[in-house]
Amino acid sequence: MKKNLLKKVSAFVMAAFLATAATGCGSSSSSTGASSSAASGKKTIGVIQFATHPSLDNCYEGFKDGLAEGGFKEGENLTIDFQNAQGETANADMIAKSLAAKNYDMIGAIATPAALSAYGATKNAGTPVVFTAVNDPVGAQLVNSLDNPGTSCTGSSDVLPLEAQVKMIRAFLPNAKKIGVLYTTSEPNSISMLEKFKGVAANEGFEVVEQGVTNSSEVASGATALAAKGVDCFNNFTDNNVVNNLSSELQAAKKAGIPVFGSEVEQVKNGCLASQSIDYVALGKQTGLMAAKILKGEAKASDLPVYTVEDATPVYNETVLQEMGLSLPSEYQTAEKVTSAK
């Protein structure tokens, strides 16, 4: 019995000692930092961005603008600890836990996986979490309802304008029958969007053919396989993995001679034919304004309703339009025009 006790005690002591040794230098500086910031009215927040791609980058830019407009300028009275999870959920979890341990005034999360990690890590501590670019906050159990979150989370949601997108596809390709969708099987947003899309597409007389991929190396072969199924075009969702590997998808589509409809203006700039684009900078800005309110203490996260973006701007790529030999439909004559950077 004594030997067991000795073992248990030594296990704890060694673990604690080694943890002390590992974190001694770092923690002392960060703890003094936190206490001084609280004293002088400065705020420190942590931000987790799930992956690096233009939509999420735009969100972050907008977020900072929104915070500045709300009275918190980075460098003056706001310090932002920005971390990028590089598209991996395990990274997001680790980052969230380390941010949570630092007791920041708030955590910002860009994209659903980052939001889930952030909420899971701060649930007990009650640190407010402000998310952006989350498709379905209610389904992800981040909030109880869009109007009344009731939890320590709030933020903005980017539900894709699927009906408008399908109408646009129909307008550009009046004779098309099949839409191909390339999505990543481990992204919950894509899966829920796919289900909704199938229903919406059927209304316009389309059949949706899907192709799931599991990681970035499969995007090229997945796109080729999808093209071989005889689809008339591709359509993208806000799938982090597919959007990250857009060039592979575009190459495969080009070989098959079919256009790709993107989900955001940056994708159209990079070679997609057209998109009903959500303005992610504006979305981020709204989120930043909400975050500023919470930081100032004017509102609590549980009472601020989730902001859902309503408008989508049609945008098309002139260069791709001409390459494909298509003509601009009359309804979209006033749509925003971009050209590919050659």
Binding site: A19, T23, A85, L116, S186, I191
Partner: protein, 305 residues
């Protein structure tokens, strides 16, 4: 001080949870000398199965048990592939890991990649956990995780002292000896793999309840973490004669997590995290070789102990 305290708490929580997996991998890697890569698939299987069961209202402790049994089945398949079909150990693990991706996604999760259980009853916010006073609320996770980890550790130690456990050790060390005893080393290997993967699935189950969500992709890199914990644990605590190997690997898991968390606190860019993991692992392996003084021997030479 507050930050430091939170950090230690987080490290201990994760260390104990991954420690369960480390005990399982200790059995397969150290005792049986079987590098089991199916851990990458069994870990998310435990997590996903638990999330699905809990979201349907099952008692969370029962869900943990179900996850353990699911892990044993996966381990059994790996063992079957290796022992009966004579596929090499590495490849059997890889085959099971690959197959489990589809099983996890299609069968268990029903096509959904992530399931959140923030609003469901987990072992950390219902039942036994409620017995702890409210003042100790923030310690709930670490106490329960430590309790489960130590329970698994003691059960494993007890098992390794039984006749079956001794045969298991023998099967990993000297299969000829087991055959000469009239027993089948192959079935011992399958049993060892079942236990190992069961522990891994249990670890995944508890992590999912702690994090509040389960993701099919959460298993990537788990084998590295588990192996690193086992090797760091056995290397660092080699000289501590009073400590059993199973305790050493749990401490190894805590140590490994501490190094990673410490590095992040000191401001390491997350992009370099994987490099750091590789460096720590290499140092542990080299340390292993140095303290051994020789390369790992196939048998023990009685004149050289």
């Amino acid at each position: 001080m507050d930050v430091f305290f939170n950090l230690i708490l987080a490290i201990l929580e994760e260390g104990f949870i991954y420690g369960i997996m480390a005990v399982g991998v200790y059995i397969t890697y150290r005792v049986l000398d079987f590098p089991d890569l199916s851990v990458d698939g069994t870990f998310p299987m435990g997590a996903c199965l638990t999330a699905v069961l809990i979201s349907h209202g099952m008692n969370p402790w029962l869900a943990c048990l179900c996850a353990f049994f699911a892990g044993t089945i996966a381990g059994g398949v790996t063992g079957f592939l290796h022992v009966k079909l004579h596929i090499t150990d590495l490849l059997s693990g890889i085959l099971v890991m690959t197959a489990l991706w589809s099983v996890n996604l299609a069968t268990i999760m029903g096509g959904k990649a992530t399931i959140t259980i923030f609003n469901s009853n987990t072992i950390f916010n219902s039942g036994l956990a409620m017995l702890l006073p409210n003042a100790a609320a923030q310690f709930r996770v670490v106490i329960l995780a430590a309790a489960v980890c130590l329970l698994i550790k003691y059960l494993t130690d007890a098992y390794l002292r039984t006749r079956s456990g001794l045969l298991l050790r023998a099967a990993g060390d000297n299969a000829q000896y087991v055959i000469s005893l009239g027993k089948d080393p192959g079935s011992m290997k399958i049993l060892g793999l079942m236990i190992g993967n069961g522990c891994t699935a249990l670890s995944g189950s508890i992590l999912a309840q702690q994090a509040g969500s389960a993701n099919v992709a959460s298993g990537t890199g788990m084998v590295v973490m588990a192996l690193a914990s086992v090797i760091i644990g056995t290397t660092v605590f080699r000289k501590a004669k009073f400590m059993r190997a199973t305790s050493a690997v749990v401490c190894g898991a805590i140590l490994y997590k501490a190094c990673l968390a410490g590095a992040m606190q000191m401001g390491l860019d997350t992009n370099y995290l994987k490099l750091l993991m590789a460096v720590i692992f290499t140092i542990a392996l080299v340390g292993n070789q140095i303290t051994l003084g020789r390369r790992k021997k196939q048998h023990v030479d009685p004149t050289k102990i």
